[in-house]
Symmetry: C2
Subunit: 536 residues, 2 copies
Amino acid sequence: MYPRKLTRSVISNPDFPVAVTPKGKIRGLYEEDMYIFRGIRYAVAERFHEPRPVEAWEGSKEAIIYGPVSMEMHTPIAHDEYNVPHYHYIQDEDCQYLNVWTKHINEDAKRPVMVWIHGGGYATGSSIELYAYDGHELAEFGDVVVVSLNHRLNCIGYLDLSAYGEEYRYSGNLGQMDILEALRWIRDNIAAFGGDPGNVTIMGQSGGGGKVNCLLQTPSAKGLFHRAVIQSGLFKGEKDMLPETARKLTAEVLEKLGIAPENVKEIEKIPYYKLARAAQEAQSELSYREHMHIMFAPVKDDDFFMGGGLNNSFIEEHKNVPVLVGSVLGEFDQNYNQVYAPGSKNDWDDAQVDALIRKVYKDRADAVIEAMKQAYPKQKLVDCLYVNKATRAASRDYARKRAEEGCAPAWNWMFNLECPLNSGTIPWHNAEEAYMFHNANYLEASYIPGVSERLQDQMTGAWVAFAADGDPNCAGNPVWPAVTEDNGACMIFDRETRLAYHHDDALMEALPERGVMDNNDRRPVTRFGGGPRQSI
Amino acid sequence: MYPRKLTRSVISNPDFPVAVTPKGKIRGLYEEDMYIFRGIRYAVAERFHEPRPVEAWEGSKEAIIYGPVSMEMHTPIAHDEYNVPHYHYIQDEDCQYLNVWTKHINEDAKRPVMVWIHGGGYATGSSIELYAYDGHELAEFGDVVVVSLNHRLNCIGYLDLSAYGEEYRYSGNLGQMDILEALRWIRDNIAAFGGDPGNVTIMGQSGGGGKVNCLLQTPSAKGLFHRAVIQSGLFKGEKDMLPETARKLTAEVLEKLGIAPENVKEIEKIPYYKLARAAQEAQSELSYREHMHIMFAPVKDDDFFMGGGLNNSFIEEHKNVPVLVGSVLGEFDQNYNQVYAPGSKNDWDDAQVDALIRKVYKDRADAVIEAMKQAYPKQKLVDCLYVNKATRAASRDYARKRAEEGCAPAWNWMFNLECPLNSGTIPWHNAEEAYMFHNANYLEASYIPGVSERLQDQMTGAWVAFAADGDPNCAGNPVWPAVTEDNGACMIFDRETRLAYHHDDALMEALPERGVMDNNDRRPVTRFGGGPRQSI
């Protein structure tokens, strides 16, 4: 994705490298011992309709330029470019493209396939949104086939028009259907890229983890994947989008657009930005009226999607899928450290830290301090200000729930490495991606010489081992037992990676409930005005 | 700009690195022995009004995230991402930001300052649009201070409202005024970044070269720069934007917006996308009516801007500025080689090549073949299909015209390296940037082991030597005489860099006149629909 310092010429010639797929030839590029294919179209779709596989073609298609990514409803804001460098790319509703990194383009290779499903809620992001997503190092380190994909998002991917006609029956889950179509493409084509269609791991972070959670609860996805990874994708207190809410939201959008139910087809032709504007207003006004945070998301229709795994029974179809589920110590609770006071947290003196903890945690302060020392005895006490509860507790509980319901093994982890920015910063939402993609050396806010090399070997090693045979245990890491109904096992990836049991139960208990992003008040979210670019 | 493989932790702490400027402290980052400051605001401006310097501030401003780039009127199209990788970034009208790469943050260093002015006509682009623009390697190689800047573009930067009120007197040149304000910021602040405000080189490619051409013809820029580099920025047959045309264009925009002259202030508040839509329509309709290609561009008002140097006398104020001016063998005439036939040009046989040359050049074919052999005896004959005349002839003539008018020396160059894509591709518009920024190792379509290292040392070496003392001669290159009225001297940067005299006069004579982009018919320009995103 990003230019790396090259040692050899990159080859992209008419006859090499070419992958021969069942529907036609695809020409990619060969770079530093890696075959890379960018922007392979995996489906076509009309707005609000289900994706269809591509037709066969003559000659060779070029796949050396990324395909466009989904339209987004909002103008992005560059508030976290340093911690989480983005690759902002060209948007289009026509966005069903995927990318492949592989060391083989012959059918005999049969390497494990690791499929990255991007985050950004169900509203933003892409297969190439973050520099951390570049698949070259992961494919190199693990000798695996890495695939990343775009799909429809927000009001294009999750607007439930099912009340207005049978042709829209699944329109509330089109974003998910795109992903399924990509997984079918992988099943039918990945052998030509050296992959084993019988060994596919889906993985995603944040919204991408949420999508994995949903795919695990999607009966028709059966057989399309074999292991699943959820990274910071589960949140305590989050709720499924119910059909009645989805339909209210849709009705609000149609009303704002002035489209009567009998003229619903007009919504297929309306310019995206008009649609997005109406969708935004509908989201925020309905949220206000219903006293809940309503966003476009997969609809629990109990047909295509059976509701998320935290709140519903796990479905039989995917009980045999092993899961790797975890979170990051800080997540949203800070991006920088100056939320509470100027300067670096590591320079604050004991009295200042104590005062801040008491100010933030009030009558829970003593319990938090005690539990923090117990959970993380080698950690600075000040860090308790940044511990995220919503994601950590949800990940832990999800793994245990899978054990309780008799599913295949689930492993639980945390990523706790303090990063160098600002003389020391607790890991933020997205921070672990640099490590499981083996890209820590490329990311300014993440890299610590000596430490990063070992830790990314440990994390990428575990992810690759899990993709290979459904068990993350591998050389170089402590022994890692699956979560049982009562063992509370968790691998803590840090400067000293360790396996712990029930290490932060008391801390989770002591910390107050709060919204996922409540502490995140330093974000200059209005800097560029927010809202869609065209404020018409 | 792009993540490089790091060998040390990047530092950005509250107290380091901090540059102390006259108006306040600026905190950047320290990466691999380089100080980097991203997104320093150099001015503030209201729409259609002149930029003002920033006010002084207390404490330390952060400069670790790029500032937003100018709004663009069109959705970009990913047709050339492989040859010319882009960094698409967040757009805002509030875009007066610059970036600095330097090895010193003390006043004593006084290094030459090299200021990059981006291309994209006067309509698109940014300081960080292309990966090739990353200043780290150039600053490292040359121990110079590299600055790159954003400024207002298109209908925000060059809409001439001067007929509607004195406050808009210079609004047709606001994009240029932003650049001048950035140069004033450099004059007043660059010492704090180790730069010498008395030794500033402005350089730009394509539209950026055009802007340099304009700055050389801007009397009020006197003293703000001391040397100038124009890369593929001059085109045979291009014309100045005259005040009467600019005013016609503005009247057309106002009419489309339904704004009467007495209500002109309304245009200051209208959403950008409505303005852009009207501006696009006005451009294309007026172009059609006037039988000429009319685009927003600096207005030759004979006050702020005296008209481009190809068509007008050089102004006294900048006759003492040495110039480095050149072009690229292929420019627009191909991005890939399949314009004329499938496969790679280097695999076509002699008969096929001969037939193609005769088809393309008709009764000029024999003369072109003869002149091609004379100009480039070691080059493949097929390459005459891709030689660009409009830019090459203009660069040559510009240098000679400076000699004729008694200006400081001008040096002329070409960049002719065949690049590896498609088994051999003639260098395209932008291809030389990888080499004068010393970034060839990072760019997939450009890098040739052994060849690139030497050639980027030669080119970056010449650029840095020129920045240091106004003469590009340096160790490792052939002796390079300035252009005189009759010597026709040109440095040809290639696998074997050589100095030639009048080498392609006959070829330029033999080639037909044609539009700058006439051969560029393989571009899938309609892939994403063209036009602005919101087609309302």
